[in-house]
Subunit: 360 residues, 3 copies
Amino acid sequence: MERYAEATKQTYEGWEEFYSRPVDEKLSFFKQKGRIFDVIFAQQFDRRFLDDLCDLAEKIRLLAKTKMGAQKLSSLLPHKRAMLYFVQPSTRTFLSFQNACYLMGLNVSESRGTSTSSEVKGESPEDTIRTFASYVDLIISRHPEAGFAEKTAWVLNQTERPVPVLNGGSGPDQHPTQALLDIYTLQREFQASGGLDGKKIAMVGDLKRGRTVRSLSYLLKNYKDVTLYYVAPEVFRMKDDIKFFLKKHAIPFHETDDFQSVMPMVDAIYMTRIQNEYASDPKSETETFPAYHFKKEHLAKIHPHCAILHPLPRRYEIEVAVDKDPRAAYWRQERNGMWIRAAMIAHVFHVDQEILAEFS
Amino acid sequence: MERYAEATKQTYEGWEEFYSRPVDEKLSFFKQKGRIFDVIFAQQFDRRFLDDLCDLAEKIRLLAKTKMGAQKLSSLLPHKRAMLYFVQPSTRTFLSFQNACYLMGLNVSESRGTSTSSEVKGESPEDTIRTFASYVDLIISRHPEAGFAEKTAWVLNQTERPVPVLNGGSGPDQHPTQALLDIYTLQREFQASGGLDGKKIAMVGDLKRGRTVRSLSYLLKNYKDVTLYYVAPEVFRMKDDIKFFLKKHAIPFHETDDFQSVMPMVDAIYMTRIQNEYASDPKSETETFPAYHFKKEHLAKIHPHCAILHPLPRRYEIEVAVDKDPRAAYWRQERNGMWIRAAMIAHVFHVDQEILAEFS
Amino acid sequence: MERYAEATKQTYEGWEEFYSRPVDEKLSFFKQKGRIFDVIFAQQFDRRFLDDLCDLAEKIRLLAKTKMGAQKLSSLLPHKRAMLYFVQPSTRTFLSFQNACYLMGLNVSESRGTSTSSEVKGESPEDTIRTFASYVDLIISRHPEAGFAEKTAWVLNQTERPVPVLNGGSGPDQHPTQALLDIYTLQREFQASGGLDGKKIAMVGDLKRGRTVRSLSYLLKNYKDVTLYYVAPEVFRMKDDIKFFLKKHAIPFHETDDFQSVMPMVDAIYMTRIQNEYASDPKSETETFPAYHFKKEHLAKIHPHCAILHPLPRRYEIEVAVDKDPRAAYWRQERNGMWIRAAMIAHVFHVDQEILAEFS
């Protein structure tokens, strides 16, 4: 067992200094033995990793269809225990991770409150995290504060028990496993048409604050000849940082407020929710922006193979009548979250080869 | 795997129309492959089903006594995962179902709050349920709203993933697994005297609002020559719908407010709690109706074989000193809830024959 | 199976009378078949038991390091289910017990609220406990009320299903598994120097109200030639009952308010938190008593082998910079809680010999 993080890690004197560094400089800190150990940023994933992980998720999904396959999966990590530390509530992400753990045979402890009893007693968040690490082998956290998961991993990597940390969402900035499930879903939906390379993808709705469309935009740099269509009202246009990133990587993108004109042109439509709960502009509280809703009548306008995605929960952005169309991929997408998270856990604990060997 | 509900189900255009139909017309909707798939109404159970399920519960109870038997049971469904969705709190029903799941080897996710984070974000209850179905293979729900479990099953049966739904209580109308455990308890207690047929059963207390005595009354139509004694103060008399039902099925019943006169006559006494928490009549808030309490001194008045039942929790309806009498069946009754629910789960997942085979 | 508690137990007519008896008279009530059945008081542990349990915990810790060893452990009690009933929140104790259960293969149900739904319906605490016993095989409770765990065990031992009860803390009086983990930690830290016998141990901070230092003082009577140093400000001096106990058992102890003078003299320093949350003296609310903090600079003053313990959570009593020193034992101590609790569960269910046999 590798009980001590490499000595080099100790050279970081303090969190503030570490946190301020560019993400690219920090990626190696979250690796062990040449592979991802902590899952903190979407920037940690390159094309090879994404392809391998989607392949692994697909294998897990197939194995889980039979009792014998499911038992094979749950026999891989019965000696591991996970902690789900969800300071910010999220039914979907929580259940997805918990059932991914169950699939792989892990036992699960949870803290879903906004505060633990120890915090009441004046314990620091760092000590609370170390306490979790005393009892479990994997920490999955969700927190309203930007950088929380990163700090968690940073602290633990300097201790005798650096258990891996999976970021289940930390504030407005990062939600890397959501990005993974979106990529996996697009790959699955495009299975018959050669995968993600060369595809045209529309992102619709609140692009300004939507964490998922931002992360997905970043990750799409790993794919060849992808074209993006940003469809949003003026108030919710994609921010400049992403557009700058796309230009830098020579990824073509178009901006428009005309959803209907884009519909017939794309291979996938990624719908998003208007994030009223983060609203700063009072106008967005009541406005539902119906021009950016997908309705049953639109099914006739899109490609026969066009996949419709949504990170869910939805409100009125997609009409319920759309659900029954085979191109409505969002319920599969939701379930894909469980498969890709199980794959991520398998990867972190080095049992990926054992899973792939079932198919050789 | 049977991934799609039969096409006929799609003919129901809307929930309101479906919900308004008589129960008898809807029973087939909750079946798959000729057996119960969703457990929604007590009306789904006929004599043969009840006998089989009680037999199965008995086998499960016996197997669970040994480590080897318990391991046999938990080896049956380790590839399945359940969701306990308890919007209305109920410690007893929750623990009973959860441990029934554990007995059969299922992993369990839970939501015990009154609201999920997704509801806060404006998600419809139907979408919340579909989300659960994305991650688990069985949904067990408890909800204050009448018809909730029925709607859950109705929605899921129209999707690609119609996982079974078990109704753990939905509002004032249905709590079918409570009815099952009551039947199982009576059968067990009457094991030495030929079972439920021909027995005299008193129901005592708040018969007007008591969900358990109402459901049990319905189910007793499946047994021969049963006689009922409804013992209640005027204000809590059994409602006419049940009495009409009994008359229709030629089940003799007597109504009285004199508990003491009934005691020596019956084979079982089913005590109930005065349901103050639902009280509409202010008088019932403070009145405990002592004439309808069972006290230690009454033990001398009842048959040597008379079984005393109570759905629990109790307050003052049964004196604690009664607990030690062998005829006090209510603690066994409570534990029977776990066995019969485990049997129900085994039935839904078609592993009943594997359990029975252990005894052949 | 031993379904009935011995008849003698029924001679206790009431709880109040039982509760008022001296602890020594009650110990046999919490035994079955000559060994501890319910873990209620630290007074239940004698030297032989402590040595055996520490040995068992050490074996469990070593087995858990490998997948094969961990699977051996979790194969011992897969047919058992535990209930964690934590009326008083405690993240640390909860997670420690839960993961100890997982290690031994038990499934776990939990109630972490301050009230259950049944209590709302007017159920007595005794009935609530009996309900838990209907579904599980082990109850682990934490409660703000003194005597709660004792009463729980007392009630259950008079029923048909006397499942074992582990006291996870009941009010200000008892927290026996914390005392066990402290002993185990000292034994482990002194492994190279002949164990606890003959050692000098300082206890520092709030000795007046600190439950852990009080319990540990009691338990140290089981070891030879131990010397205690009570280091506290005047307002938090150790109470007379403990000092009387030490004198009675001829255990030498010294009292001082000068922490620095004691540092170079002792083999272990047990730091405690100033328990503001129980404060009656307003002065202690804001005063942090820095003279009783352990700082990085103190590391130079203590023995090269001196172990630093703390029950955690800490606030400012130990500087974070101390954590990296190998003598900082508190994080190991925290994790020891899981091993010793797993050992306690193994003991209660009589699988200790199976574990030891792995090493023969």
